[in-house]
Symmetry: C2
Subunit: 97 residues, 2 copies
């Protein structure tokens, strides 16, 4: 049985391929749909919508608007690091950590 | 309800903090335990054990052997990219993709 981490990695891989389809990369439109469907909760709670626009712009600028697996994962890493920073500060404030 | 991707990100964050504890970073020993417990399946199927040793060495060389969230996530990205490359080749060979 895969561990939680292995399962999480599998989810990320499969989600990329679900939205990329046979062509193997995400277009700007695919990425927009992926973000809206898979990060709806995160985007809703984003206090600065410009941050998300900036991410989208950065991603779209690279390689003719084709976002490959590695670039897509970089986006997820950026989001995870931002979430982690928030989590650490939030937990410290609450004194739970 | 969080999406699959949001859940996967949460799993990765919480796993890091589970092994890092209050100090907020992983030591060499913490990382070894995390790898063995969370990537057991992946490591078992790794054909070249030197690759894993190399990852561990690279990670341990940075910042006095303290592996923070960002570095830990870089490791996961590296593993995910390797898995994805295998997945794409494997699926193409089988003609399922």
């Amino acid at each position: 049985m895969p561990s939680h981490m292995e399962h999480a990695m599998k989810t990320m891989m499969f989600t990329f391929h679900k939205f990329a389809g046979d062509k193997g990369y995400l277009t700007k439109e695919d990425l927009q749909v992926l973000m809206e469907k898979e990060f709806a909760g995160l985007l809703k709670n984003q206090k600065d919508p410009l941050n998300v626009e900036k991410i989208m712009k950065d991603l779209n600028q690279c390689r003719d608007g084709k976002v490959g697996f590695q670039n897509c994962f970089s986006l997820i890493v950026g989001l995870a690091i931002a979430c982690n920073d928030y989590f650490v500060v939030h937990m410290k404030q609450k004194g739970k950590k």
